[in-house]
């Protein structure tokens, strides 16, 4: 148990260690890439980029959770049942759209910068949450619903105290997937001008500076694994002890 938690948190510790150590690693990168005049990314601090990246992913995931949960709940209520096939079709077809495509479509609408990235992340992030919410609520056993009805629960109380807790595991899995895809897409977002950890990678690729690429890739890899580890812990906890 303790070992598993440590393994889930290890990427976060590595990320923090990288953030502390990288600014002082100029000598190391100079020795590794002697041909580069600036072996350390200097335009923005790594801490700043990491925070901006995490904030973008956090806000997008929050929007995705709110919208995805609301739509998923609506489509599984008695009044909205007939919307379920359409909602499901949107979630399934939408996921065949590549994240890059969603990002590229957002640019003409909102211009360059963080705004199109946020729109793309939120739109695309809704799909896994929505899909998993519908799946989770659908698999709540009818006996649990009947029991709640028999105890005189109202519609909202049944949803809040019976259905959502029983569906929390699958929903959390959707949130986790949504957040991880967002970390990856936000990286590409630096190609459309968002200040994320993708910036050193893209700048390094354009300017033939492999040191920048390595620094950005290390940090963003550690960030993705940290998010995965943390949300994985949350998912396991929720599956084991429903709220």
């Amino acid at each position: 148990m303790g070992c598993r938690r440590l393994r889930a948190l290890a990427p976060l510790l590595i990320l923090i260690a990288l953030l502390v150590a990288l600014p002082h690693a100029g000598g190391l990168f100079h020795a590794w890439f002697p041909e580069l005049s600036h072996p350390l990314y200097w335009r923005t601090s790594f801490v700043e980029l990491t925070l901006a990246h995490a904030a973008l992913v956090g806000i997008a995931t929050l929007i995705a959770v709110i919208v995805g949960l609301a739509l998923g709940i609506l489509a599984t209520r008695e009044a909205g049942r007939s919307l379920l096939p359409t909602v499901r079709a949107v979630a399934v077809i939408g996921q065949t759209f590549p994240p890059v495509a969603v990002l590229a479509i957002a640019v003409p609408l909102l211009g360059f910068g963080a705004a199109p990235t946020l729109l793309a992340l939120s739109l695309y992030g809704v799909l896994p949450v929505l899909g998993q919410t519908v799946a989770g609520l659908d698999q709540v056993p009818a006996s649990a619903l009947h029991a709640a009805d028999g105890m005189g629960y109202g519609r909202w109380r049944r949803l809040w105290e019976v259905e959502l807790p029983l569906a929390a595991g699958p929903i959390m899995a959707g949130v986790r997937l949504s957040a991880i895809v967002s970390v990856g897409t936000a990286t590409i977002g630096s190609a459309v001008g968002a200040a994320t950890l993708g910036a050193p990678i893209v700048e390094g690729l354009v300017g033939n500076n492999t040191a920048y690429v390595v620094q950005g890739a290390l940090l963003v890899g550690a960030l993705a694994l940290s998010v995965d580890g943390l949300l994985g812990l949350a998912e396991k906890r929720i599956r084991r002890h429903p709220l």
């Binding site: 049942r81 007939s82 919307l83 590549p98 890059v100 003409p108 990286t187 190609a191 990678i201």
Partner: protein, 392 residues
Amino acid sequence: MGDASRENGTGPVAPRERRRAQSALLQQRLPVVVLCVIGLVAGLALPFLNIAPNRLLSGHASGGQQGVFALLWLVAAAAGGWRGGAVAAVLLALVLPLIAAVDATLLLHHKPPTTRIQLGAGFWVMWLAAALLLLDRLRHVRAGWRAVAWAVVVVSLVVGGWQGVFDDLALVREWQAQRGAFTDALASHVTLSLITLGVALTIGAPLGYLAWRARRAGGTLLSVLAFLQTIPSLALFALLIGPFAWLAREWPALAALGFGGTGAAPAVFALVLYALLPVVRYTVTGLDAVPADTREAARGLGMTRGQLLLRVQLPLGWPVLLAGLRIVAVQTIGLAAVAALIGAGGLGRFVFLGIGQGATDMVLLGTLAIIGLALAADLLFQAMMAATGRRA
């Protein structure tokens, strides 16, 4: 029973039943109402077309047909309730591009030749709403008719495009201007994806078989692959540049084959790494799908392990493996777009070059082609799954 209640129940039963029937009818129409409201709002509030002075500058909205769209969606909402709903949706999906084309021709009159008429957000949202309406209205229709309806939409649009109906739209102009480069990009995107799929299947299926035989090692393998899947694509592509450049330097023979830090080699390598998780996982699931009794019966008949695999496990587990390949194909087509950033070519080149130049139509052309490829791959695998399902 209905007759009985009508005969002796003049009391409160009949109105309640009627109300229930009414609410059921209303419920059936809910998707139609929601989609038509979305379409109506998009038609009234979002720009249908944008007029740009040339392909690099952003345009301003052109308005004036709000009344037409309002009428169209009201007709669609009215028609959506009865059996003609699907026909109305098909017509809508065809009329919207037609209006855009006619409008573009009118707008281009007396304008400099560099002027571009771009499809705006209003067009795209309305067209998506029409497509979803068609999807919903076809739900209770036989599969054959469903295919016919979609074929009518796609074939009409393609034939119309062939005949030059849409030639005044910026998207078509961009395609005409870059036809050669576009065909090359499409071909290299398909090639990248096919090679990845082939290599991933060749490596992943045996790995999956081994993982199924040796459970514990298989669990470790799957968690390593899941770990790789978590790493953002751009980071993995970028990290491979160093090792591949080194390999090409150490073995010039590899470099002569086009092997290098950038280009197709590291791209395919990364794409295969991403593809391995679904292939291995679905292979294991497919092998699990064969009941132990069946396996034992086959062994009892004297089959060797190889015969068991080829004659029993492969035919029975094939549909599950196909489901995995469907996921891999869609995922690979999307990720291959990112590979353009490390010089692997493909449709992603159109997207990122277009973003760099600010050429909206170029971005859109690349993006639509990627989405089209992904949807086509998805449909192809669905059809294959349906075919194997019917035979089994």
